[in-house]
């Protein structure tokens, strides 16, 4: 597929409030904005004040489109994009 050649994988680490709804929103926005889920890990912070989430996505769209939307979510407290892992996928 020609699209796959242009697809990139990106990894985000996201700190959210300790609410299940935070994960629901992350997944809803990821799907709706056209990013494919490539990985999801989460664990509560030691003091249970939040969740630490590692989200990997694949898309041919600029990752800024997703980052900007996720940053707007009420339960997202902090978000970091890992440029180092954002290599092109060769199909």
């Amino acid at each position: 597929m020609s699209n796959a050649a242009k697809s990139h994988q990106h990894t985000l680490t996201i700190h959210t409030r300790h609410e299940a709804v935070a994960i629901e929103r992350l997944l809803q926005v990821t799907r709706y904005r056209g990013f494919t889920l490539a990985g999801l890990e989460l664990k509560p912070l030691a003091d249970l004040t939040g969740l630490l989430i590692t989200l990997s996505v694949v898309s041919d769209k600029p990752i800024s489109l997703l980052v900007n939307q996720l940053n707007k979510l009420y339960d997202v407290l902090d978000l970091e994009l890992h440029q180092a892992e954002a290599g092109a996928l060769r199909a």
Binding site: V21, Y32, P62, Q69
Partner: protein, 555 residues
């Protein structure tokens, strides 16, 4: 007090005097607290009507609208209104009752996962587990609805939380709001000013974000100082002062020819609180192809979403517009834009005796009292309202833009009348749309709301019919409404007087009769089902490739 009483207390704390809703089992404690309370409750006849009335209230006044519904079907009926508020950035707080936590998650009677259901059509939704969090959650909801890019927020409150005892702690509001600051944007401002100086053919593309930032005076000063021509989106109609000779009207699918042609030619598009919606841009790749773009918005997710900006600024238009006011010499471009406007003015000559809706709406616009609020529904009549009526503020033109929701108009006109009782509330609706929330005539009847209803009746789902005619080989699938009810009798059933007209020479006296009648009134206007909305940018085309109905218009 109880949680329910605290809800009412907090509404008062936020200056909410009117709410729209419908009671039911899971919200009964809140309705009990509303009984004989200072907050006036307007009983709508469908929760969707309540949601749209809250939107109309908010859009006409700039305040936050509030609507209430019970769990299950009450809450699901609100969803369309929440989606409408999200797409048009309207501050609304929806409060829903929920089943008690003791039975939560058991598929209890009228239990639906309202939090889950509403999340994608709100800025955020809250579920209140503990009455101790209720006040903070409601305060947060009001703040969130109004802040940044406004929008709807839902608070779902289980019945046990409504019944639980709690103390009210007044909030000591700090009134000192920080003056908008744009010092962090010095580089972008300098770059934008350079682009403005270099431009030969700049164009301001104005969206709903400008009036929502309360920046209309700054906008008009900016347009005057720069001498830049301007166009507006559907939501921003009424933003540019009537006296501005270089305002070219609405752009986009049913925009003016002058606006669409000039935007295609501009070399610098100054996008202010707008979002390059597909109804605005037509074929995005071919939209304003020569233009550099300055984009100013409060929502970071709108920058570079659809069209890359050469200079982007995330900030408050009220602070940014004054520092961007660089005067340029655009005289040749101004003359060109004026000529386009002259050349492509609206034509109101129309053969035959039958009523021509564009002319009727122009007459309505000229005859309605100053500062009337016009709500409309969705379809051809909606586009004719935008094209042929003039507004002196976007708060006077309530139209469902982003979601394009039929059934919006009647409840929105009710909300507008309640938020601005001193102003006239006019509804322009279609024979299709009107039926979608027609039950709200009962709300008008109960509260004797003097809403002026104009039904533009083409006996068709006209906008869909137009597309079938143009793009589906005239196969008119399910768009015939020729068995419409008798609208005047329908109004009469709700004690609303009305009158039906079908000839041009009846229009002026009928409009006068409607406005001189002190109460609600329905004017039923029969038009020809073959009348269509022009111009039209067909799907996939660039905005300068407009279809116009020239044969009918040329004498």
């Amino acid at each position: 007090m109880t949680g329910a009483e605290l809800v009412v207390k907090l509404l008062t704390e936020h200056g909410v005097h009117s709410v729209f809703g419908y009671p039911g089992g899971a919200i009964m404690p809140i309705y009990d607290a509303l009984y004989q309370s200072p907050v006036k409750h307007y009983l709508c006849r469908h929760e969707q009507g309540g949601g749209f009335s809250a939107i109309g209230y908010a859009r006409a006044s700039g305040q936050t609208g509030v609507c209430l519904a019970t769990s299950g079907p009450g809450a699901t009926n609100l969803i369309t209104a929440l989606a409408d508020a999200l797409l048009d950035s309207v501050p609304v707080v929806a409060i829903t009752g929920q089943v008690s936590q003791a039975v939560a998650g058991t598929d209890a009677f009228q239990e639906v996962d309202v939090l889950g259901l509403s999340l994608t059509c709100t800025k955020h939704s809250f579920y209140v587990r503990d009455v101790a969090d209720l006040a903070a959650t409601l305060r947060e909801a009001f703040l969130l609805a109004q802040s940044g890019r406004p929008g709807p927020v839902l608070v779902d409150i289980p019945k046990d939380v409504q019944l639980a005892p709690v103390d009210y702690q007044p909030l000591h509001l700090t009134t000192a709001t920080a003056a908008p600051d744009c010092s962090g944007l010095a580089t972008q401002i300098a770059a934008a000013r350079t682009l403005l100086q270099q431009a030969q053919k700049p164009m301001a593309y104005i969206g709903g974000g400008v009036h929502m930032a309360d920046a209309l005076p700054e906008l008009n000063a900016f347009l005057t100082a720069t001498g830049m021509p301007s166009v507006t989106t559907l939501k921003a109609m009424g933003s540019v002062e009537k006296a501005n000779p270089l305002y070219l009207g609405m752009l986009g699918m049913h925009g003016t020819q002058a606006a669409n042609i000039a935007v295609q030619q501009t070399d610098l598009l100054v996008c202010l609180g707008a979002r390059f919606d597909d109804r605005v841009t037509g074929n995005l790749k071919k939209f304003a192809p020569e233009a550099k773009v300055i984009h100013i918005d409060i929502d970071p997710a709108e920058i570079n979403k659809l069209r890359a900006a050469d200079v982007a600024m995330l900030g408050d238009l009220k602070a940014l517009l004054p520092v961007m006011a660089v005067a340029g010499d655009y005289s040749a471009w101004q003359a060109h834009c004026s000529a386009l406007k002259q050349q492509h003015g609206w034509r109101y000559d129309h053969p035959g005796e039958r009523i021509f809706a564009p002319l009727l709406l122009k007459q309505l616009s000229e005859r309605m009292p100053d500062n009337s609020v016009v709500s409309c529904d969705v379809g051809q009549h909606q586009m004719w309202v935008a094209q042929h009526m003039r507004f002196n503020s976007p708060r006077n033109h309530l139209s469902s833009g982003g979601l394009g929701t039929m059934g919006f108009g009647l409840p929105a006109a009710i909300g507008a009348k309640i938020s601005r009782p001193q102003d006239t509330s006019v509804l322009v609706t279609g024979d299709g749309s009107f039926m979608m929330n027609v039950q709200e005539l009962a709300t008008i009847k109960r509260f004797r709301l003097p809403v002026k209803i104009v039904v533009i009746d083409n006996q068709r789902l006209g906008m869909v019919k137009q597309w079938q005619q143009l793009f589906f080989a005239g196969r008119y699938s399910e768009t015939d409404l020729s068995d419409n009810p008798d609208f005047v009798s329908l109004a009469a059933a709700f004690a609303i007087p009305g009158h039906s007209i079908s000839h041009k020479d009846e229009v002026e006296s009928a409009l006068d009769a409607m406005f001189s009648w002190p109460g609600p009134y329905l004017l039923h206007v029969r038009i020809d089902e073959t009348d269509n909305v022009w111009p039209l940018v067909p799907p996939g085309a660039a905005n300068h490739d407009m279809m116009t109905d020239l044969p009918q218009w040329e004498e």
